[in-house]
Symmetry: D2
């Protein structure tokens, strides 16, 4: 086994000079007020070993990383039927999700663009009596942490100022791919994005994806082997907005980022790794986080390719 | 080691009923005249073992599979500078490569869409005195087969009727991302697409991508380890037109298809596999070929995820 | 002077066979329940003469024709400053107002596409304490009819089911071109579309545009001569969705249509003419109404060209 | 009658300060070398009176103004059948004629965007044995000037460097809306754009459009009354690239501009007017020319609205 701790230490040294070169997400005050110099990493292996460094135990807003949780929950519930309502292809254009929706008759390109994630949220609302509680329970089960919560201030703030999301949800409704009330979908969606977790908790909660769909501690199956592989494939092709191709090229791990500055990635059969640094690059991904993971695959020689 | 031959036989049994359900590419007569019922597969391992079935030794027009060869040659020559002229992101939209070019100021999204492949061809023309000979030499080196040739009838036919490609090349020229004469670029491009190879030869010629950039027989390094990983990443995210995400999802191997009905894919560290069946699905990929590779990963439990 | 009444009678004879070939707008029940066989026309001259035929005195939902009223009111209030927030160019594409908004940074192409009309409504909300009352007062002044009203059932129905409009308004807000609350804008907008008027009332209310901006009866100036000309120019280039060019080509009068089946047009210096027939063509314009106006310019030899 | 000469003199005084604020078209050397300070105007009435000022008798490259001539010739030949191959709607987007072609299956939006004009040229090639001679003969007939010629240097230069036009023509061919050889279409098209005429000659040659389709001198009918009206309607809605709406709004005359700096416009039943000033605004229209025509309608109170 590699000495992962010393590798994490090296990585931190090398990325520290990048802090200050990105921009913290500013569209809601709650995100903007985060200390931009924070940096943490956590790596957990299937054997149960954990390696952490920096602010790995400080919670932050997971934002779009939550889309992996809701997708896993919906996929487990509906199976392949899910793909009637959302596609599997990378989005390509940074600019025109609204056009794409029109062109593709309301079927979002994939479950990780906002439109696609809202359709997944709509699926959960149709399938669970208490969808907000169900999402939280699921994340607690995956992470093994009972006190994972929503940040209600962030959720409210996102709902009040999230005009693009409101536009998307209304547009999806007009195209017939939202079953529930638009307000309800936006409410649940803004809550799922406002979950707060630490690097350690996130890495822990993604381990089932590195383990054929089974949570290693406790041996609970969440997804079939095939489903877990498929979710990893979606993360690889679609997990980093319009930088997905470059992430696959430079890093080569399935993963998902959020505008809170978090990134989680897995190496199937081995480990999950999470990094947090609030400053973002022009694609909306953590600037230092992307670099840290690139260094990780370079230093360890590990990647799926 | 798996008994790959019996697996290939099982796969062939299961996909035979699909023959007749797709459509042979009809845009040039030379492709249309191929017997649509042909089916072949070849698997070669890093150890040098080969397993073949059906029409695995019959040559067909490799078409877009050639883009992997020209990309590897240009990447070896220019290194990371190559990415100043072509992007790394999946294309997303099936319909608007012309719009994308305009929006992205002449930088094609990736080297596997036609516009991107033409830029790569232009790079080769600028870097080799005899680009058509250089491409052929390179493919001969990779495959170890000396009599790989262009099909000049197909090349001429594509040049005479390829109005979309002519539009793309002229448009790239107007945007400043073609250095050489438009006619020259189209000529070389139409020739590279018209190379004829068999499944066995294709699988053999892709082995270096499963082997950290080194041709196993002879131990010749073509790309660095990092470059080979990166080329695999591009194949995974961009190798199957607008079905790339679905191929990653269902099959989970880096690969490349062509409208001649061929597909080649690799499992890094293990093997390369090629399949040929001329009938295409609505995305322009071999209908039975895609299914055959999906069955391969299902039956062997192998995939990069 | 032409005998306009006999011409209107001829026109009616000729368009009656078209009834049954279009489709009544079905997106809200209140519109769908209209008797599809209704047909009326009214022509009023600057001299005060009126010629009517058929259901010319039956009120219907004016829908997008209201955009001319709100534009005139806003133009009179703000003058040329208005064009900082909305453009003057025909929209061209039937399909992509959302994309256009993004591309043009929130400045709608013109005040007659829905996005542009919402911006105009937002202008009125910012400039009038009671915008809904102000709009109604203005229409009453133009038409000289005191009991013009909103149909509140239609307004409510449009608000509840108008998801595309809700998407547009939220998107405009996100791009910074809506000053007021999104809900308020949608509320006023849905009311203005739900005004009910007859052909006679509509023709009367458009006379000022044929008269250099002055209401002929009473001699009240609403717009300057230059502003009136300009509003006519906008109607000619943008008044008929993606059929504006064809309407200019076949009819050659500035005008505006609505999905309630109404159309109003003017010949500057002479007259205003309104027609109503609820069935629409594939562009959302009254099928028989367009034909009736084409016959009018053919039979009278009148057009601005 | 107005004293048009003194009005032209006033206009010239007022626009002279604008010279130096635009940019001469630079995409081919022959255009770039024109003296940017030139300014001429010519007004001819149906009665045969002519008023000229400045460089009204100097010839310049008419460029896109030629699209009116070829459209008139094709319209006279094919009548309404012409509209099966080209649309009548304003183009809207400045940026995406290539996308529009794809979306609209090869039918260009209107005959004045380059794609549409090429289809018209293709129509002429199919209908005349010697299309280049036929175009020249037609322009000579309209203008009454026998020595109107192509500038062969400009034609060649445009053919050699016109990569966007080559892209468009190839793309139209791929979509099935070019009948003849792509090279032939580009050759004729580049020649028609390279016709050289003076303001006086252009105004003279447009008089038939102000006169119900009849050349006043000699009384030759070129188009029917209805066709002439319709051609005027197309000029009004589509004659000024993405500034057509603004030109209708500010000027209010049907007209056509070219990147050589020329503009011709008509007031039906009265006159034709041409202006030349080589510097262009950001829309590709003559900066001083647009202003001069706006001043003309303001000072004379004339416009079609």
């Amino acid at each position: 086994m590699k000495n992962y701790l010393s590798i994490l230490q090296e990585i931190r040294e090398e990325v520290l000079p990048l802090l200050g070169r990105g921009k913290v997400a500013s569209y809601i005050p709650a995100l903007e007020n985060v200390d931009s110099r924070r940096f943490g990493m956590a790596l957990v292996t299937l054997d149960g070993e954990a390696f952490v460094i920096g602010d790995a135990d400080e919670r932050f807003s997971i934002q779009s990383i939550s889309k992996v949780f809701t997708l896993a929950l919906a996929f487990a519930k509906l199976g392949e039927d899910l793909w009637k309502r959302v596609g599997l292809e990378p989005s390509g254009n940074p600019f025109n999700s609204l056009l794409q929706l029109e062109y593709e008759k309301g079927i979002p390109r994939n479950p990780f663009i906002n439109a696609g994630a809202m359709v997944i949220t709509d699926v959960l609302i149709s399938n669970f009596d208490h969808p907000k509680a169900a999402i939280l329970d699921f994340v607690r089960q995956l992470s093994g942490i009972d006190d994972v919560y929503y940040d209600y201030d962030i959720a409210r703030s996102e709902r009040e100022t999230g005009f693009v999301n409101a536009a998307l949800a209304n547009y999806l409704k007009s195209l017939g791919n939202i079953e529930n009330n638009v307000e309800t979908v936006l409410d649940v969606y803004c809550h799922q994005c406002a979950i707060k977790m630490s690097c350690r908790e996130l890495a822990q909660s993604f381990l089932f994806l590195a383990n054929h769909g089974i949570i290693p501690s406790g041996n609970t199956r969440i997804l079939t082997t095939s489903q877990a592989k498929r979710l990893n494939a979606i993360m690889l092709t679609c997990g980093f907005y319009d930088q997905a191709g470059e992430f696959a090229f430079r890093v080569g791990m399935p993963g998902k980022s959020g505008v809170g500055g978090g990134i989680v990635a897995v190496i199937p059969g081995e480990l999950a790794i999470a990094v947090w640094s609030p400053e973002l690059n022009e694609h909306g991904n953590s600037l230092a986080g992307i670099k840290a993971l690139e260094l990780f695959t370079t230093k360890t020689g590990r990647s799926i390719f």
